[in-house]
Every structure is written in C-alpha cells, then in structure tokens.
C-alpha cells in the first residue's frame, strides 16, 4: 500500500493530467480484453511495462515487486487451469492436455496484460487524481468522499500503529512469542478508541473551516497534453495493427 502510494506520487508522470493516463492505461486495458492474447497480450504487457519503467521512470525493482503478487496468483491459477482431475476409473488422477495448456497460457497472458495496464495507471496517478476522475464520471459525491476519508485515515492509522509498535518494541514488548501476542493485542485494542478520538477532533477541525456536510475540494490545475494523447493513441493503434497483421499472416499460412 505504502509502496504503490509512494510510487504514484514520485514518478515522472505524477503531475500529468489524469485523463492522459486514463487514455493510455484504460486503452491498453480495453485492448487486452478484445485482442487475441497471442500476440496482443504479449505486446500490451511489453508496452505497459515499458511505459511504466521508461516513460514514468518507475524503478524496475519496485515495478517487479508490485507486479509479483498479482502475477503469482495468475500463474498459479493458470497451472490449475492447465490440469484436470479425473475421478473415474482407478482412483483420482491428474492429467493435462495440450489444448488445456494452450487455454491456460492464453488466459494467463490476457490477465497479466490487463493487470499491467491497470498497474500503469495506478502506479503513475495519485489516488486523489483518480478520485477526481470518478467525480467527473458522476460517481455519487458520498462514495468519493468516503473513499477519500478512508484513504487519509488508513495513512493516519498506519502511522499511529507504527508509532505504537515502536514504543512497545523499545520497552521489550516483542521479545518472545507470548509478549508479541500480548503487545499486538494491546496495540489493536488501543487503536480503536484512539482513532475514534481522532475522528472526533477532525470533525472539530473541519467545522472550524465551515464544513457543511460536503467534502468538496479543488484540485490543482493540470493541462491535457495533446502530444501525450496522440502518442498513447498511436501506441494503441500500433498494437492493434501488429495483432491483426499477425492473425492475418497466421491464417494465410
């Protein structure tokens, strides 16, 4: 959570208009659904990773770390897809077929390409910008407000928990299994009233700024770059052309 958030705020595309990143990331996501996975998904995966690493300058190690978790799920899911369990005959047996393996590879590739497209957006766009997009898409204000507060409070709670843990650890609270269990329990129990108290104080703070039940804020202005939009469209066009071309050659030969 912290890693993604930090990357979203510190990459070279952070200050770019969120619409630009939506066109690129969202466009690639759409293509990963409609194009045949070979070679479409491979091209999309490459393009999304390259855009994140070379375009937005996300450090390669961080990028791999973020991608690793969903990738692990997708690949293990793919392996299961490739196998089938037979319960007839002499006891259960695990078998696999080339057709099943092909399907598994295609599904995994498609899912990976879609994940990479989504990650491209998430890793380059601060959450507040994403919420701005939701607001513009006419998502009810209440939902956007609550999302924003949850986001802010996650950071506050994580901070409070971290400080509490350090304070406990420096008093030998985590020496040994029994102590650790006890300390973690105490910390969790202390966090709830602390957060409720903080929420009450924040209500005072908001009231001091004439809060009227509506958490409206203005975002810093950013300009849509036509060059970026054209570049994104060209990249997506290229992927479509390459994919169609591959399919055409395949069916001709």
């Amino acid at each position: 959570m912290h890693l993604i958030d930090r990357l979203a705020h510190t990459n070279r595309w952070t200050d770019r208009h969120p619409g630009e990143k939506l066109l690129l990331g969202g466009g690639l996501l759409l293509l990963s659904v409609v194009l045949p996975p070979v070679p479409g998904a491979v091209l999309i995966l490459t393009a999304a990773a390259a855009a994140a690493v070379f375009g937005a300058r996300t450090p390669v190690a961080d990028y791999c770390r973020v991608l690793a978790l969903p990738a692990a799920f997708l690949i293990s899911g793919g392996i299961v897809l490739a196998l089938s369990v037979r319960l007839d005959g002499a006891g259960p047996a695990v078998t696999w077929s080339p057709a099943g393996a092909m399907t598994a590879i295609e599904v995994s590739l498609r899912a990976l390409a879609a994940t990479a497209s989504l990650l491209l957006m998430i890793l380059t766009t601060p959450l507040t910008d994403l919420l701005g997009l939701l607001r513009r898409a006419r998502v009810p204000a209440e939902i956007v407000d609550i999302t924003l507060l949850v986001y802010r409070f996650i950071m506050v709670v994580v901070d409070a928990a971290e400080r509490g843990r350090i304070s406990q650890a420096s008093r030998m609270g985590y020496s040994g299994f029994r102590h650790s269990l006890r300390s973690a329990g105490l910390l969790a129990a202390a966090l709830l009233p602390r957060c409720l108290d903080r929420a009450a104080r924040m209500e005072n703070g908001l009231a001091a700024r004439a809060y009227g039940g509506d958490l409206r804020v203005l975002s810093p202005p950013s300009i849509l770059s036509v060059r970026f939009l054209v570049g994104a469209l060209m990249l997506e066009g290229l992927i479509v052309a390459a994919s169609l071309g591959w399919t055409a050659i395949g069916s001709a030969g």
């Binding site: 958030d5 930090r6 705020h9 952070t14 200050d15 601060p126 959450l127 507040t128 919420l131 924003l148 507060l149 986001y151 802010r152 950071m155 506050v156 901070d159 903080r198 104080r201 924040m202 005072n204 703070g205 908001l206 009231a207 001091a208 700024r209 004439a210 809060y211 009227g212 509506d214 958490l215 409206r216 804020v217 203005l218 975002s219 810093p220 202005p221």
Partner: protein, 301 residues
C-alpha cells in the same frame, strides 16, 4: 472589540470544569497571546471563539453582538474567526496540499476562480507553494502545520486563532512561521494564539492574557504582565529571560529605573551593547533565535 467573552463557563462531559467565569476582550488588530500552563483552559477558550464549543454559561460576542449558534450564523462566524488546531492531523483530511487548502474557501460558496486565487495566495503567504501537489502524509510536521494554517488563511478571516502555533517546531520553523504571521498582522489581521512559552509571549505579542485555572488573572502589555512576579508564581510560569535581564540591569543601576525593558533576544543584545557603551550594531538579515526572530522586531518596536 471584534470578539469578547463574558462570564464564560465550560464543563467537559465527566464534570471537569475547564473555564470558570472567564472574561476576555480581543481588540481588532495586533497580537494577543494567551499564556498559561498546560491544562489552564487555553484551548477550550479558543474553541469558543469560533463556535466549535458552546459555553455551559456566559456569552460570546462577535463584532458587538451576542452570537447565535444556527448553521448560517456559524458559517459567517467561522469566516470571521479562523481556528487552527494544535495538531495539524486533526485538521488535514484531503489527499494533497492544494485540495486541503481549497476546502475552507469552497465552503464559503466562492467560485472556483476565486478559490484558486485564494489557495495560491494562502500557499504563498505560508511559503509552501512548492508543496501544492504533495500528499499530506508525505509532509514533515512543520510543513503540515503550515498547510493547516494556510487552509484557514484561505478563508481570509479577520481574526486568526492559533492553538500552540509554535509547538513542535524547530527554531527555524518558528522564525519562519512568525515572519509569515507578522505579515498578516501588518495586513490588518488580528492574531490570537495560545502558548506556554513565556519568552515567545514576551517577544511576540502586543497584549498578553495570563491564564490560570480557567480564568484570566492578568492582562496587559507583555512587559507589565510578565514582569509581575506574583502573577507569574500564581500561574506557575517563570520570568521571561529578556525581562529578567532588564530588571537585573535596573537593579544594578546599569540602566535608568524607568528605562524600557528588553522583550526579545535581540533587544537584550542591544541593551548589553548600550551598557557597554556601544551603539547597537546592525543585525544580519537572517538572524533566527528561539524566542524572537528578527521579523518580530519591526512589529514590537
């Protein structure tokens, strides 16, 4: 008087009396320091000045009229008296600095254009324009504090009430903050702040109100109130260093018995130079000290 409280009483749930019949006038313009030890009721008073808390007894007057606690009056009231809480995390909720500062002015019903101007003005006044796009949780404590003040400043209040504005800031941060607030005072904003730092109150205020157990026990020019040993003992506070040096110099006959007392660090230095027979040297432009940044000097006179 822009804000006055009369016979103010407040009892927290659980029966703890925070204020016990308190009278205080806030004159328009200038800096009022509310000085007292921890738990004297300073914060509780501040929360009454903009209607965050409703008194259990007594009255609050705003611009010569007793206040009303309905929603519309409260909005107008809070546009007049801005309150900055001690812990910036109690106040900052938005994702990034720009958005958070825009919250107050948007609540006043201004147009986006006006809000944009006000946000930029407030960010510039607190010298954090370069942080506009930074998310709140990636700011240092001092930066968050300045963002919290900018968020209230953007509402252009006539009175800016700050709870422990220098608490938790380093020397440089304090100098920075007081300089920014000094500019506001020059622009006509009234500043009311709480502190338990006698040296700060002595150097950086026009009026001091001394607090003890929910009452004002002394009020006046800092060099008068804060040189009163009896009052200070009652409030569990010590004599400010600058006044201590000045009084000692009077006792020893180094200066005339009616000579003005120094109030800040640099005035103490000037006094020493005067005693030694030198004319006060001109000071370097970026002289920052713990109790009195150079910017406070022009306003204290």
């Amino acid at each position: 008087m822009i804000v006055s409280v009369r016979g103010l009483r407040f009892t927290y749930p659980g029966g703890i009396d925070a204020l016990e019949g308190l009278d205080l006038d806030v004159p328009e313009g200038g800096r009022l320091a509310i000085l007292g030890p921890n738990g004297a009721g300073k914060t509780t008073l501040l929360m009454h000045l903009n209607g965050t808390l409703r008194p259990s007894g007594g009255e609050v007057w705003l611009e010569g009229r007793p206040v009303v606690y309905d929603r519309r009056s409260l909005t107008r009231w809070r546009a007049t008296v801005g309150l900055v809480l001690q812990d910036p995390d109690d106040q900052l909720f938005a994702g990034n600095v720009y958005q958070d500062v825009s919250f107050g002015p948007l609540n006043l019903g201004l147009t986006e254009r006006e809000v944009k101007d006000r946000v930029e003005e407030a960010l510039a006044a607190m010298r954090i324009a370069d942080l506009a796009r930074r998310p709140i949780h990636m700011l240092s404590f001092g930066q968050r504090k300045r963002v919290a003040i900018a968020g209230v400043l953007a509402m252009k209040p006539r009175v800016l009430a700050l709870d422990e504005p220098t608490g938790g800031l380093d020397t440089h941060g304090v100098a920075h903050l007081l300089s920014a607030l000094g500019h506001l005072v020059e622009g006509g904003t009234t500043i009311v702040y709480t502190t338990h730092d006698v040296d700060l109150a002595c150097a950086w205020s026009d009026t001091v109100a001394l607090f003890h157990q929910g009452r004002v026990i002394g009020r006046g020019r800092p060099e008068d109130v804060l040189a009163d040993g009896g009052l200070l003992r009652l409030a569990h506070l010590r004599l400010p260093l600058a006044l201590d040096v000045g009084l000692r110099a009077r006792e020893l006959g180094l200066i005339a018995a009616d000579a003005p007392l120094p109030r800040s660090r640099s005035q103490v230095a000037d006094l020493l130079a005067q005693i030694a027979g030198h004319t006060p040297p001109s000071r370097p432009a970026h002289h920052a000290s713990d109790d009195a940044p150079i910017h406070a000097e022009s306003a204290t006179g």
